[in-house]
Structure formats: structure tokens, C-alpha cells
């Protein structure tokens, strides 16, 4: 067994050349589990992560410092038309470092759909149950209690109760939570039981090496089998300081639905049926704010602990495809979400402590695409379909109704001009046809579906075992795999699918 370690590319004194059994690209939920399983199988496995290796000591709860540390493009990534902001993790642990720790299994209806329509085999609810159970045990998943519910989440619960809508507490993967409310900026208290704290240390204990600061720039292959990867370490000025090359029989992509597909495209991975990068789902969401007489101070406490599923169905083409959860930001994020500028905007900021904010995320059916620019950077093409725009409008209307039902004095949909209502009657009179990307601020935190599972090579990118249809030894282990949106937070599904599929990568790596 090799000696496992966390290493920093910036500490390299020269170029790095390795010969290993398996390489994992990306260290989020999917990559971390794949790495751990490869190492536990006795294989020499190395992971490369583009961002930095940080720990809880580095997370100082400051937006301006954490955005560059923990997010791709310093939090500024967006769709190509800039209509939807796409927040994605960067750094060892990936998005599990900044996410809000929501733990939901892949809905059985989604798994059935994938089997029935998308040719996914071996991934029924029964097939997946052991992986879900194992991951939930690893990550100490529990239901959040009423005592953990902050005022913003309590607003959602009250709204659901008043309207008789379906609502329920959510599960999470925290232990020792201080309820500081800074989850999206990394946990200063190491309470998140995530890839960074739990899975990657297990991988390292099993002998894996994790290299931070290494940007993988290409997958080496001969058109039939992978041969390894190549990458670079950049200095603060962006100049290449060292090159990295790793020969391996197996390469596992765990760099997200955006990063993995872009890397595959820039590497010339075979794509005879034009499926690579296609079918991207973003699960985009818009927000609605309610102003209350009482103080909410939604930045205090666990950000998301309750959900409304009244308008969420998993049938394709359903007219109920909206998931509603609280969404609160710290001042910079809040200021950016509020419409306008100047004195009116500052006056609106003074209401910040009295705001409750909900988000409606669309279980989208829009099929976006991930491309790679000439310089290798990902390009996210996503033009929201008419049907999804209608769902978004319905979702924002539902958020407004929930806030009013919970006692909001005024509800604002951030748009230019802002739409404000103070009663259900005003809400019912409001024309929601203005709702669309660019007219309301939209954010996506759950990209999925750019390298889909399935047994038909004409309709998918990887087999139901996670291996590329044409390129032997190339595996995918992240949200790229999912043929559709999940309609909810994907982290547990990503961890579980990574665990479920890892034996196939292990078997491939062991074959000589």
C-alpha cells in the first residue's frame, strides 16, 4: 500500500510524473468516494483537485474571502447568456464544503423513470438502498429537529401549515453544529460531515494521495482506452509553474456536471452519437422575499432545515415541478439579490433583519449543454424552456403565497421593476408572465446530467456501470451521471452512485 497524503501542487519543486493504477479528477462527493473505494481495494489511486486544500481553520465566514477560495470563478460562474448564476465548488471537498448539507435520497420515482425511459439498469431503489444506507452512515445523516429551525425556516413551516401544503423537516450531515449560519462559506467548526472531513481522510488512510492546486487539462487516450491525465499547476499570476502527468488504466471523472463534461470534450473523448455534454440540467431557482414586523435575522442558524413539496412531482412533463426551501444570504449576496441601486437599494437593505426569503427551484426539463472554449474553460449553454419558465413563475407565486400566509407585511419578487404585493388579492392580480431568466435573478447550485448513464450508447454517454461507452477505463462519478434532474439536493445521490458504481472502476483497474 502506498502512503496516503494530502499534498499541495504549489509545493512541487518541479514537474510531476506518476504511474498509478487509477486517477480521480475532482474531490467532491463523487470523486472522494471513488478515490476511497479504489484505495480500499488496494489500488494506487491519486486524486487531482483544481482548487486549494483548505480546512476549517481557513473558513473565516467572510464572503469576500470565501468566494475565491471555495467557488469556481470566484462565485461568478454563469450560463453563457449570463441569465443564470451557477455556483459550483472549487477546492478539496468540492461543493460539499460550501453546500447546506441537505440529504435526500434519489426519489424512487426518478429511479423508475431512469430505468423505464433512459435505459439505466441495476439502479432501482432496492439496488441503491445499500449504497444510500452506507453513505448515510458514513456521513452521520440525521433529521433536523425543531430546535434547529431558525426563524426563516419557521416562516416556511408556518406558511405550509396555514395553507395546508405539504412540508417536512429535512435531513442533514452535521455533527456538533454551532448553528452559526455560515454554512455556505465553509464550516469554521468542522461540523460538516462531508468529503473534506470524512471521505477524503478515509481515502488517504487507505493509501490514496490527494493533490490540490492541480488543474487537469486533458485525458490521455488512444481512442479506445484511457492512458492517464495531464495537468498543470499555476502560480498566482496564472502562469504554469509545473506540469503534471499521470499514467493510469482508469480515470474517474468527479469534477461536476460542468467540469467533467468540459474536460472530456476538450480531451477529444469519442462521441460518435453526439451525446457528450448534452442534457445538462441546472435545477435553477429564483427567490422571493417577505418583510415581517418581527425580526427574522435569517443569517443566524441553519440556513435550510424545512422544505415544501406541495408543488413537486417527479413525473416527466408534470405541471408541478417546483421545490421550495428557505434561502438566505449574507449581506453581499443579499445586496446582489435585491433589485435596484442607489438610495432606494440602501433603504431596502435596512429591512434585511426583517426579511424572510424563500427559493423556488425548478425540477427542470430544459436540456442544456456543456462545451469547452478554446482555452478549455467550460461554456454552459442553457436556454430555459417555456414549460420550465411557467414552472418558475408558479414557484415564485407559491413562495409569495407562503410568505403572506406566514404573516409577511409585504412580499417582493426581485425584478426590474420589483413586483411587490401586500395581500393575496394583490398577488392574485399580479401578472407573472414577466418571469424568465434575465428578468428575475436566478441561481443554480445543482448542475446534473451532462454525461448520462444508460445502456444505449446512442442515448447516453456512460454505461449503467459508469464506464464510458467507447473509451475503456474512463468512468464518471459525479452529477453528470443523472439522466434527469433529481428535483432536490443531489449530494447524497452523488455520493451513493459513486459508491454503487465504484466496484466497476476497481475491477477495471485491477485488470492488467
Amino acid at each position: 500500500m502506498t502512503t496516503g497524503a494530502f499534498l499541495r501542487g504549489r509545493d512541487l519543486s518541479g514537474d510531476l510524473s506518476l504511474e498509478v493504477d487509477a486517477v480521480v479528477v475532482g474531490t467532491g462527493a463523487g470523486g472522494s468516494v471513488a478515490l476511497r473505494e479504489l484505495a480500499r481495494a488496494g489500488l494506487d489511486a491519486v486524486a487531482f483537485e483544481e482548487g486549494a486544500w483548505s480546512t476549517s481553520k481557513d473558513f473565516d465566514q467572510r464572503e469576500d474571502r470565501m468566494l475565491p477560495l471555495l467557488f469556481q470563478d470566484m462565485g461568478g460562474r454563469s450560463t453563457e447568456d449570463m441569465g443564470i448564476r451557477v455556483l459550483q465548488g472549487r477546492g478539496v471537498g468540492g461543493s460539499t464544503v460550501h453546500n447546506t448539507n441537505l440529504c435526500k435520497r434519489t426519489p424512487p420515482a426518478i429511479l423508475e423513470l431512469w430505468a423505464r425511459k433512459y435505459g439505466v439498469t441495476g439502479a432501482s431503489a432496492a439496488d441503491m438502498a445499500p449504497a444510500f444506507e452506507a453513505i448515510e452512515r458514513d456521513l452521520s445523516v440525521t433529521e433536523m429537529t425543531a430546535a434547529m429551525r431558525n426563524a426563516n425556516n419557521e416562516v416556511l413551516r408556518k406558511g405550509c401549515e396555514a395553507l395546508g401544503w405539504k412540508g417536512a423537516p429535512l435531513k442533514h450531515n452535521r455533527v456538533g453544529c454551532q448553528q452559526s449560519g455560515f454554512c455556505e462559506l465553509g464550516c469554521s467548526y468542522d461540523a460538516k460531515q462531508n468529503a473534506l472531513k470524512v471521505v477524503l481522510p478515509q481515502a488517504v488512510a487507505a493509501g490514496a494521495r490527494v493533490y490540490a492546486d492541480v488543474e487537469v487539462t486533458g485525458i490521455d487516450h488512444d481512442g479506445a482506452s484511457v492512458q492517464g491525465i495531464r495537468g498543470v499547476v499555476r502560480g498566482p499570476d496564472g502562469a504554469v509553474r509545473a506540469t503534471v502527468k499521470a499514467r493510469a488504466r482508469v480515470v474517474v471523472l468527479g469534477a461536476s456536471a460542468v467540469g467533467s463534461a468540459a474536460l472530456a470534450r476538450r480531451s477529444g473523448v469519442p462521441d460518435p452519437f453526439g451525446q457528450l455534454g448534452k442534457g445538462l440540467r441546472l435545477h435553477p431557482g429564483g427567490v422571493v422575499a417577505g418583510r415581517f414586523e418581527k425580526t427574522i435575522e435569517g443569517w443566524h442558524g441553519i440556513p435550510q432545515s424545512y422544505e415544501c413539496t406541495e408543488h413537486l412531482s417527479f413525473e416527466e412533463g408534470s405541471d408541478r415541478r417546483v421545490w421550495i426551501v428557505p434561502a438566505f444570504a449574507h449581506p453581499i449576496g443579499a445586496a446582489s439579490s435585491m433589485p435596484g441601486f442607489g438610495a432606494a437599494h440602501m433603504a431596502a437593505m435596512r429591512a434585511y433583519p426583517n426579511l424572510a426569503v424563500l427559493t423556488a427551484m425548478v425540477h427542470d426539463e430544459t436540456r442544456g449543454e456543456v462545451l469547452a472554449a478554446d482555452d478549455g474553460r467550460p461554456i454552459i449553454k442553457y436556454v430555459m424552456s417555456d414549460a420550465d419558465r411557467v414552472q418558475l413563475a408558479k414557484g415564485l407565486a407559491a413562495c409569495a403565497r407562503l410568505l403572506l400566509a406566514a404573516g409577511a407585511r409585504e412580499v417582493t419578487i426581485p425584478a426590474i421593476p420589483p413586483r411587490k404585493v401586500t395581500s393575496v388579492a394583490e398577488l392574485e392580480a399580479l401578472d407573472f408572465s414577466f418571469v424568465r431568466p434575465h428578468a428575475v435573478p436566478l441561481t443554480a447550485v445543482h448542475p446534473m446530467g451532462s454525461m448520462r448513464l444508460g445502456d444505449d450508447p446512442k442515448a447516453s454517454v456512460v454505461t449503467s456501470m459508469g464506464e464510458h461507452h467507447q473509451l475503456k477505463g474512463l468512468f464518471v462519478s459525479d452529477g453528470s451521471l443523472f439522466p434527469t434532474s433529481l428535483g432536490g439536493p443531489p449530494q447524497i445521490s452523488i455520493y451513493a452512485f459513486a459508491l454503487h458504481l465504484a466496484p466497476h472502476a476497481v475491477a477495471r483497474a485491477k485488470k492488467t
Partner: protein
């Protein structure tokens, strides 16, 4: 409430246009034609004087001044004369944005530069002002920014939103602004008497 239509309404006249970054570049080219023409190029390189001691990491002097003046309007105080409200200049918002932009991807940096060119040279014309943005008074600058914010072009609105976000980042990152929002700040390294 009026149910959202099963299909969204037809696009309003002149928009909405789904613009890609490529089109932003085209818009930038239009701005560049204005800014890069021989006469205007002369104007563009003259009359942009940085405050003494200012050093730039990413912006050119004219870009810095556009951001500086836009920032003054974007975080203009709601209570003029209230000494507890720091100004954009007090917090050197433009300097912070310059440093931030220096770390941005070159493509994004280029797009922003071209958008700033639009703000400086073309947007005032669209708002009925016959002078570049940095030479306008506060009320006219507000009108120019409002015209971009409500533009029928998706991309111009997105560009403005990006500029706004950078300014808010530079402003609300500072503990001296947190009192405006009633925000008590991070728990980590919190001073004994609180941040405010």
C-alpha cells in the same frame, strides 16, 4: 393571482434578446468603435486622471474611473448627510474591484472591460446625455445606470447586474457598512465589542 400562461408571452419589441457572450463582445465592439475611433481615442486617453497614489492591478485608468463613479451612485446613501454611512470612496470600492478583477478569468475580465466601455461611451447617448459617463453629474449618471438596468437587452442588464454585484461586494464586505443592514457579522475573529 393570474396563472402564469402555459406559454410565455411573445417577446416585447426589441427584446428580450437572448444574447451570448459572443454578442456581448459584439456590443463591446460597438463600444470599441466609439472609443477606438481616432478622435475619441484621443479623448479617451486624455482627461482620465487617477487620484494621486492610485496603482492599478487590472483596470486601465478610464475603467477605474468609470467603476469609481458608478460605485458612488450604486451605493449612494439613502440618508444623505448621515456620517455613519461610509461612501464608496471611503471604502475604496473601485480599488477593491480592481484587485478582484485582476484575479478573474481573462475572458470575464475582457467582457467587463467592454461593458465598461459601453457605460462610458454609449449608454449616455441612449439616456439622452451628450457626454461620457464620467463627466456627467450624479442625476444624469443615475439616469444612465437606470437606462442600462431597464434595457431591453438581456445582456446589458446582465452586465449591469455584474457591475452592481462587484460594487456591492466591495462595499458590503466592510464591517463599517454592516450597521446599515443590521448585520452583526462573522462569529470568527469577532472583536470583543462586536464588529460595528
Amino acid at each position: 393571482m393570474r396563472e402564469p400562461p402555459s406559454r410565455p408571452p411573445a417577446a416585447p419589441p426589441g427584446g428580450p434578446r437572448r444574447l451570448s457572450r459572443r454578442r456581448l463582445l459584439q456590443a463591446g465592439v460597438a463600444a470599441g468603435l466609439v472609443a477606438g475611433g481616432s478622435a475619441l481615442a484621443f479623448v479617451r486617453t486624455r482627461g482620465y486622471e487617477l487620484p494621486a497614489g492610485t496603482t492599478l492591478a487590472a483596470f486601465t485608468p478610464w475603467q477605474y474611473l468609470v467603476v469609481q463613479q458608478a460605485a458612488r451612485r450604486i451605493v449612494a446613501p439613502d440618508l444623505p448627510g448621515d456620517a455613519s454611512i461610509p461612501s464608496a470612496d471611503d471604502l475604496d470600492v473601485a480599488g477593491f474591484v480592481d484587485g478582484w478583477v485582476a484575479r478573474m478569468d481573462p475572458t470575464m475580465r475582457r467582457d467587463l472591460g467592454r461593458f465598461l466601455g459601453y457605460v462610458e461611451h454609449l449608454a449616455p447617448l441612449g439616456a439622452g446625455c451628450a457626454s461620457r459617463f464620467t463627466r456627467l453629474g450624479a442625476a444624469d449618471q443615475d439616469a444612465v445606470l437606470a437606462s442600462i438596468e431597464s434595457s431591453s437587452s438581456d445582456l446589458l442588464r446582465a452586465g449591469f447586474d455584474g457591475l452592481r454585484a462587484l460594487v456591492f461586494l466591495g462595499y458590503y464586505r466592510d464591517a463599517r457598512t454592516w450597521g446599515i443592514a443590521g448585520y452583526d457579522g462573522p462569529l470568527v475573529n469577532r472583536p470583543a465589542g462586536g464588529w460595528r
